[in-house]
């Protein structure tokens, strides 16, 4: 009985919203309603109308009534009928809005710069489509029915177990499934932690590194959270200033600090061991909490391991990661490993009935991690990015040896030091040549007391493999013209830089 309706008139076809009203019979009313739907543009040219019998069943009229109405509108030119293609709304003589539309496949970024050396995106051509589809298929086929009902707001248990195992093994995180909360990515984690003003799990002010992502600072500022910049030196962020209650004079009352310990973003060094223990000690003695943004922890190219800071004290560190660098930012999938006391509040902030992340994607990632496909993909792309980094370093050494490259032991970007005062002209010259990249100053906290440094943040992951060489060429040309000791920069002499600065 369950399936008997599949072949009935009401189960096939498509929905079409029509209100039959006014004078005359049903046929006249139907014709009028259809004509109005087409004339007003509600039904776009090319829209396929339902078969006679399904619309007739929906409206409770005879099949011939629908056939007659369709025929009348075909005769009037509103509809077209062709064998095998059904009845459709006729194309219009004058090109209207929908005909002018931008081809769907072209995003602003794809239409954008000739050479994309912006940080933040993995190589989009490397997405493991076949392996991901295999995991998605398995997840969808094996999912019990309850998967499609309301779920656990913390995220699927399967994913939290797979993440706990992976993060412990690969990143040294001390994770338990019950302390993991799945979210849409790092920014979502920040939103959940700091909430809406008074409603957050944590409260500002929040100490941050003097260089970081402006997008995060804005998000925090919108949430009413004041950020206090910590200077950077050769050891990493000056977390010692937290202990002394200084942090640029504004650090009083700071109970939370956001760090990128594995690979400072964007300047590139790790937080050294003494600073790691110092910040955990601070959190313990002052009742503080450390937010660890492990945004590209998988991509380390030397053999000196930099595990998660969280391993030092899972009760004092919130570990935050995502697939945005390792797989793609298009998946919108991240996670937090939380101190036990925050779990319930963060889950409540997510919203009892809002999971945010597709449960099928969560199950797919659980399978992808469990079957080793995630490790394989990370190890493959790590090699690819390492080779790109080597090409960048070699090209710069050969053509602009006076430009120092830093922050290259890990990650998907490097920082190029520029002579003082030249950053803006270099970025502008690059833009004129179709190279998109960011100057270092774009990442500087506006309240930082650190002297501003000139530099470029060069992302080497975004271009496709075949486009990378040309992007490097173009970059070297700009640097030759704008940043050479004899170049056109306002202060040509090379700036050796302070070894304690980023």
């Amino acid at each position: 009985m369950v399936d008997s309706w599949v072949n009935s008139a009401e189960a096939i076809g498509a929905d079409l919203h029509l209100e039959l009203a006014g004078q005359g019979g049903r046929r006249a009313a139907l014709t009028r309603a259809l004509r109005e739907a087409v004339r007003s543009g509600r039904l776009a040219p090319g829209t396929r109308l339902p078969p006679y019998r399904s619309l007739a069943a929906d409206l409770g009229v005879a099949r011939n009534t629908v056939a007659d109405a369709y025929a009348e509108l075909v005769a009037e030119g509103w509809l077209t009928a062709r064998q095998g293609s059904g009845t459709r709304v006729a194309p219009r003589g004058t090109p209207l809005r929908r005909a002018e539309r931008v081809p769907a496949a072209v995003s602003p970024r794809a239409r954008g710069p000739r050479h994309d050396l912006r940080q933040g995106t993995p190589d989009v051509s490397a997405f493991p489509r076949t392996a991901w589809l295999a995991s998605y298929r398995k997840a969808l086929q094996q999912a019990p029915n309850e998967v499609f009902g309301p779920g656990d707001p913390a995220g699927r248990r399967e994913l939290r177990e797979a993440l706990a195992e992976y993060l412990a093994r690969a990143r040294g995180v001390r994770a338990e499934p019950d302390r993991i909360v799945v979210c849409s990515g790092f920014a979502h984690a920040l939103r959940l932690l700091f909430g809406q003003g008074a409603g957050g799990v944590l409260r500002g002010p929040l100490a941050v590194e003097a260089y970081g992502l402006g997008f995060h600072r804005e998000l925090l500022s919108t949430a009413g959270v004041r950020t206090v910049p910590l200077p950077l030196d050769g050891q990493g962020a000056r977390v010692d200033l937290l202990e002394r209650g200084r942090a640029g004079g504004a650090g009083r009352g700071v109970r939370a600090v956001l760090l990128t310990p594995a690979h400072q973003f964007p300047t590139g060094g790790p937080l050294r061991a003494s600073r790691r223990s110092a910040v955990v000690d601070w959190a313990r003695t002052r009742g503080g909490v450390v937010l660890e943004d492990d945004y590209d922890g998988e991509f380390r190219y030397d053999r000196k391991p930099v595990g998660a800071l969280q391993g030092l004290d899972p009760e004092r560190v919130v570990y935050i990661g995502s697939v945005s660098k390792s797989l793609s930012p298009a998946l919108r999938l991240g996670w937090m490993v939380l101190p036990g006391r925050y779990v319930d509040e963060v889950v409540a902030a997510k919203g009892d009935r809002e999971g945010w992340v597709s449960v099928l994607d969560q199950l797919a990632l659980a399978d992808f991690l469990g079957c080793g496909a995630y490790d394989r993909h990370v190890r493959r792309t790590r090699q690819r990015y390492r080779a790109r980094r080597d090409r960048l370093v070699a090209a710069l050494a050969a053509r602009v040896p006076y430009v120092e490259v830093t922050g290259i032991a890990a990650g998907l970007h490097a920082v190029l030091r520029l002579p003082s005062g030249t950053e803006r002209s270099v970025v502008e010259a690059a833009a004129r040549r179709g190279i998109a990249l960011d100057g270092l100053s774009a990442f500087r906290h506006p309240g930082s007391e650190m002297p501003a440094r000139d530099g470029l943040v060069v992302g080497y992951a975004a271009p496709s493999e075949h486009a990378y060489g040309a992007a490097l060429d173009a970059l070297c040309e700009v640097l030759e013209a704008e940043a050479s000791p004899g170049g056109r920069g306002p202060e040509a002499p090379q700036d050796k830089g302070d070894p304690e600065a980023p």
Copy 2:
């Protein structure tokens, strides 16, 4: 060259985070680090270790060094080695946390009530797995590479175009792709519109229907938005009170109203035509805006069409829908059709770098809509739910004819009127018999001046097909015992109810 590394030692295997330190040679340091990782529980029992050569390559040691360290730990009992299964962390004698874990497939809901008659969930066994997988596969295989990079914060163009066509055809929405913003569901739409206190696109106070979802009221309250209840009568919400600035005396300053015009939630009637034009007139003359929650607009069982209110004035109505009732709440996928003036602000509230919804899911839904699979699924499940509604009505008529059923022309739930004062005892008696359902009072706005009505909100979509009959039986038994004119309710005489009340 690009693929040459695929077979190298570094590209296979898995990541394992180890810090080699301390005295003795590399082998001693490796053995120590591995033992500590197992002893501390960071590496869970059963975790598979990387092959010798991949770990050796990662650590920069000889392959034999790794082999010797593994062998030593196998001898000590920390690891196990078996042909074909590799080297793994040994199981422990005492059952630890991970051994006690709940079987992953069982969610709290699945372990929950024997009979699930709660509103809000579609039939989880009806999810169209095959058709959805086909669309997902097509989307993934045909996607241009740029899909995996940063995307349009409004949502993929392909999906917005498919939605515009579908919503115009099936729901009478006047939609253009440029006015559609993709989001995670209705609650996300509310969050985007009302933001964080001062930051929202819209401001409170917000007029709402006197009966509605408490979850939405709480979300608004957390965002600092005061809600003002509008009474309901036989015509739907008393939107006429907005015009007179009354709305229970608290409506002054109200410039936004949230309605469920197609099928009042949960009481079930449509907003009548005169009220529809009245609320749009109010919005035009007072500069107000109507939020239309079209949560189950696809599921209408009579032939009287109730199209979207938005069609009356796209510049005054925000139309909000999702796949949560039509496909599954597990997908976390919804949309808004916005007045032109709100589009930029809503996109900004989403966050420039946060899409919230997986781009692959967006492309899959675009295909699913475009190929007609969505229509087919909606029409099939509509028949299934109609049949269930008919069974509910027939069972109640046969066994408890004194219980009036209302709100049954549409949707996935019905409202049963109960004799005054019996609701609580009926809900409790149902719980004792393993039936989960909600009393009507759970949906009443606490500030409403409407007299409270006793009733049950019975969701008939959630049980699987084979479990539905038993759930109906159990429900009828409870009603026979607790709500009959001669039953045990505190006020046995049947309450005929006010015809103007919901």
